[in-house]
């Protein structure tokens, strides 16, 4: 039962990772890419961690896996604000709606 639930959670988490990877590759500027990475990846990672925690042998191991998710949430959100603040301070203004997207496909 826990195996089934764990697999389902992990499979549910994978599309979020794929979506965030596509976003990282396709979005136009730093800020949009960070948005894709920090939001979708953290949800995907959370689902995968939950899926692994459900299958863990003991409660202690399961809690450790969930703790890993919590730590990554803290670190990745702080890292994202650091990168975006840095980019803004060093003169990379966010892309506006009517700017030409250099990376768009033709």
């Amino acid at each position: 039962m826990s195996d089934l639930l764990g697999t389902a959670l992990i499979l549910l988490g994978l599309p979020f990772f794929i979506a965030s990877t596509v976003g990282l590759l396709r979005f136009p500027d730093v800020y949009a890419r960070l948005h894709a990475l920090t939001k979708a990846d953290n949800v995907g990672l959370g689902l995968i961690c939950l899926g692994l925690a459900v299958q863990a042998d003991s409660l202690a191991v399961g809690l450790k896996i969930v703790l890993i998710w919590g730590l990554i949430l803290l670190a990745s959100s702080t890292g994202a604000t650091l990168i975006s603040t840095s980019a803004l301070r060093h003169g990379h203004p966010p892309q506006q709606r009517n700017d030409v997207d250099k990376h768009a496909g033709h």
């Binding site: 730590l71 803290l74 670190a75 959100s77 702080t78 604000t81 650091l82 603040t85 301070r89």
Partner: protein, 309 residues
């Protein structure tokens, strides 16, 4: 699991190749960090979690951040490794052939080794026989801190040498003035530090009976310390008055190791020959001192030069 192994091997080759062949220093450093992470995963697959931890912390984390800082210090004109119109170098095909040839030879040698009986290869039996007398319960700790303790002693000496080389380059660069622009960083460094300390103690304690020990523990504490150092939370390291203290602390691990080796020479007649009755205490003392020294050395790398001037 074969698919995962092949994927890992290909990822290691790809990141290493990109690191060496693509233009741009920044890209090379980013690929080196990715390579470190892939190597850590490979160590996990080889059932060596302690090596994996050290590789992830030192190979990907600490070295990567050092190299990134070095790239940041370079003038913009020198950050390009290759000219603007970059082509794959002419010797690439020759290199690829040599790599494939050497890889194939290694593969054949490994298969040969498997045929002749891998079970008898190595010194696992001898180590297991000597384990009760070594003072440690885990084979890796026993090898690192007793049976081949001299190797670990020299490793710590090499790290101390690296600190000396960095200090000889230039005066220390003070941490960047954050000026309230990055409030999250300082808070994160302070909030996470108790957890770094807890993990440090856990690895030290775990080292006696499971993978862990001085190097991973030192790497974790050092990483937390680097975070504090770069957010300007550790002022004393830069001050002149603390310079001697810092030097003694840096050398403490190596000195204790040397004292132990000499004590072994006096007591049993061979360098670092620990008598079985005391070996456990010696190992704990060395492990704590070495871990603290390693953490401090990793932190002093991030002074980027000699402090106290």
């Amino acid at each position: 699991m074969l698919a995962i192994d092949v994927l890992l091997a290909l990822a290691a080759l790809a990141t290493a190749g990109q690191c060496l062949l693509l233009p741009g220093l920044f890209r090379a450093v980013a690929n080196l960090m990715a390579f470190g992470l892939v190597m850590a995963l490979i160590w996990v697959r080889l059932d060596a979690p302690d090596v994996a931890l050290a590789e992830a912390a030192i190979g990907a984390g600490i070295t990567g951040a050092l190299l990134l800082t070095a790239v940041g210090q370079l003038p913009a004109s020198q950050r390009r490794l290759h000219p603007e119109h970059y082509r794959v170098p002419r010797w690439f095909i020759t290199m690829a052939i040599i790599v494939v040839l050497v890889g194939g030879l290694l593969w054949v040698a490994m298969l040969e080794l498997l045929n002749t009986g891998l079970a008898n290869a190595g010194l696992a039996k001898e180590v297991a026989a000597a384990l009760p007398e070594s003072g440690a319960e885990h084979a890796v700790t026993a090898i690192l801190l007793n049976i081949r303790g001299v190797d670990t002693l020299l490793e710590i000496a090499v790290m101390l040498g690296a600190v000396a080389v960095i200090w000889s380059l230039q005066p220390a660069i003070p941490p960047p003035a954050l000026g309230g622009n990055y409030p999250g960083l300082t808070t994160l460094a302070r909030w996470l530090h108790p957890l770094f300390l807890l993990t440090f103690c856990y690895f030290l304690w775990q080292g006696t009976h499971a993978p862990g020990g001085a190097f991973p523990a030192g790497a974790v504490l050092g990483a937390g310390g680097v975070l504090l150092l770069l957010t300007g939370s550790i002022g004393w390291m830069y001050r002149y008055g603390y310079n001697y203290l810092l030097r003694w602390l840096l050398a403490a691990g190596l000195l204790l190791f040397l004292v132990t080796a000499l004590a072994g020479l006096l007591m049993t007649g061979s360098l670092y020959g620990l008598p079985p009755t005391f070996a456990g205490y010696f190992i704990i003392a060395i492990e704590v001192a070495a871990a603290l020294s390693i953490a401090l050395m990793l932190m002093t790398f991030y002074l980027f030069g000699r402090p106290g001037r």
